[in-house]
């Protein structure tokens, strides 16, 4: 047992999808089995990593034995672990959907890029220094853009191009911030920076550049212009990956920086992030309500839901552990619900041959599992009990009211009502006969179940809030017990 515990699961979680992706390029005929095996292997590796963190506390691994400041350290605490679990589980569901979704011609392109994306995401969530975060952020962005352009249709190419320019601009701003922070504090290691950082002109400039760049990559309103065309024009499994996981990567970095470095002195800036989040909720929800195409509706819903994540910044004064827990929980909840919603939308498009909401013809009788998946995911997006969306938004609402931020509380409630509006708009048309009845095309059962299981996951997560918060606290407890000794391999 103890030999299993000593395995460096974090390294495996990065190397396995990299090797799998390379295998897909070398032997295209094997890409589907290689992809499924790699993704399943990553789930097991993350389970192993989680077990190790529960036993030993914070995971830190010096790659190649070099160690910080010269080498690159892999690092995982409770927050990283939750992000890794989110990536593994949602990635597994989407992979089983993609198994049936892609034609053989598209499959040989999808699997290698998705596996590289998975490796990049795992590496990002396991990084402990701001420069390594830059590199993994770029790997994530490039893989995500390539996936967006997968179909080669003109709208997908345009969406991917816009996305690429936005994501490169975001990373350059972030990199400039890294340069300034390094110059000011002489380190890129987040823990070392946290000890040395003092609010001065260089740090404030770095804060502005990094926050703006990461907000652009996370599609925080009004920097969300690139998201709807990219997410709506990509194939359904790719849209699900982009909305559920890729935007969370840059959000995670921003959250980390704020929790560890900037949060103490940047009260005003966190107010601004919160205000933009509130604007995103209102604007994204109203735009979603106006859409006539189902994937654009779901994409604008992502813009609105990202807004909720940014409301955490002005409410974070309650303590780092609570803020990190709320952010991780809301991100996880949104990842499950939104991936289920995009996959269900993909099924509806396959079933009807179009994505016009008004022409969804009796989908509920003919595609009950998919409509159930959409409705269950919708319950979580709207924030109705007992879903995880309800718990997450309730915690936020509670924090807002206890701090007297009635303005933010009102925005959250309006956002929930608007979400109900756009979700029932889709469901309403799914129940009724369309003006032009159409024949149903067969949707593979595996694709219906993948969407439904992810949506059920979003509901079940609602019963696991205390476990998530316990995970966030795990390293704090262990640290206190062992007086700061960090487990090293």
């Amino acid at each position: 047992m103890s030999s299993l515990l000593a395995i460096d699961w974090g390294v495996i979680a990065i190397l396995l999808p990299l090797a799998g992706g390379t295998a897909c390029v070398l032997w295209p005929a094997l890409s589907k089995p290689a992809g499924l095996i790699s993704v399943t292997g990553v789930v097991l590796a993350i389970a192993g990593l989680g077990w190790r963190i529960m036993e030993n506390g914070i995971y830190r691994h010096a790659v190649g034995g070099w160690g910080a400041p010269l080498g690159i350290d892999l690092f995982a605490d409770g927050l990283s672990l939750i992000m890794l679990i989110m990536t593994a589980l949602v990635g597994l569901g989407i992979s089983f959907y993609a198994r049936r979704y892609f034609s053989p011609r598209d499959a040989v392109r999808f699997w290698p890029i998705w596996l590289f994306l998975l490796a990049a995401l795992n590496a990002l969530f396991l990084s402990a220094d701001i420069f390594n975060l830059y590199v993994t952020l770029e790997m994530t962005g490039l893989a995500a853009v390539a996936l967006t352009a997968l179909t080669g249709r003109i709208d997908a190419l345009g969406g991917a191009m816009r996305y690429l320019l936005a994501t490169l601009l975001g990373s350059l701003a972030y990199l400039l911030g890294v340069a300034l922070l390094y110059h000011d504090a002489g380190s890129v290691d987040i823990a070392t920076l946290a000890q040395r950082i003092q609010p001065n002109a260089a740090v404030w400039t770095a804060l502005g550049l990094m926050s703006a760049g990461l907000a652009l990559k996370t599609a925080l309103f009004p920097l969300s212009f690139w998201l709807p065309p990219a997410h709506a024009s990509a194939p359904a499994p790719v849209s699900a990956l982009l909305s559920a996981l890729v935007v969370k990567a840059s959000f995670y970095i921003l959250l980390r920086l704020w929790l560890e470095l900037f949060g103490d002195f940047a009260q005003g800036a966190s107010m601004l992030l919160g205000l933009l989040g509130a604007a995103a909720i209102l604007w994204g929800s109203l735009q979603a309500l106006r859409q006539t195409r189902i994937k654009l509706l779901v994409a604008y819903s992502t813009v609105a839901q990202i807004g909720y994540l940014f409301l955490i910044y002005p409410l974070a004064s309650a303590g780092n552990g609570i803020a990190a827990g709320m952010a991780a929980y809301l991100a996880f909840s949104h990842a499950l619900a939104k991936s289920a919603m995009f996959l269900a939308a993909g099924n509806l498009m396959l079933f009807g041959g179009h994505d016009r909401i008004a022409d969804l013809d009796r989908a509920v009788q003919r595609l009950p599992l998919t409509v159930a998946a959409f409705a269950l995911a919708g319950v979580s997006i709207m924030g109705l009990p007992p879903s995880s969306g309800f718990v997450g938004k309730w915690l936020l609402l509670d924090a807002a009211m206890s701090q007297g931020r009635w303005d933010l509380a009102v925005v959250m409630i309006i956002g929930g009502l608007l979400a109900a509006g756009y979700i029932f708009k889709v469901l309403g048309y799914a129940f009724t006969q369309a003006e032009v009845p159409h024949d149903a095309r067969a949707v593979p059962a595996g694709m219906e179940w993948a969407a439904l299981l992810l949506a059920i996951g979003a509901i079940l997560l609602g019963f696991m809030a205390s476990e998530i918060f316990a995970l966030i606290a795990v390293d704090l407890v262990v640290n206190a017990d062992e007086a700061g000794t960090v487990w090293t391999a």
Binding site: E138, L142, V145, I154, D155, M161, L168, A179
Partner: protein
């Protein structure tokens, strides 16, 4: 005014110049070039900041970062050019289509 400060100032200038071009020009190739100019600005700042005032030796870490950054920039530019060529092939012109492509 030290040399390093001059370089850092030039780097900031390149960054702003590139940002301006990225926003103002419609042609995708110009946008890609603008991103590259911005990248060069960031690299110049990194190189310049490697020498701290009062220290005689130069810190090698920012130089290693620039090397890594250049590798990233090359791959990103390659992907951007490939996308641009596909876009020009399909639509006949290398400009970004309207928001939703419909």
């Amino acid at each position: 005014m030290t040399n390093a400060f001059l370089y850092a100032l030039a780097g900031s200038g390149l960054f702003v110049l590139g940002l301006h071009a990225l926003v103002m020009h419609a042609h995708v190739l110009r946008k890609i070039l603008a991103i590259n100019v911005m990248g060069s600005g960031v690299f110049l700042i990194l190189v310049a900041l490697a020498r701290r005032s009062g220290e005689t030796t130069t810190d090698p870490v920012p130089h290693a970062m620039v090397i890594t950054g250049i590798v990233v920039a090359v791959s990103a530019t390659a992907l951007a050019l490939a996308l641009m060529l596909k876009l020009a092939e399909k639509s006949g012109q290398a400009v970004l289509p309207d928001k939703h492509g419909d």
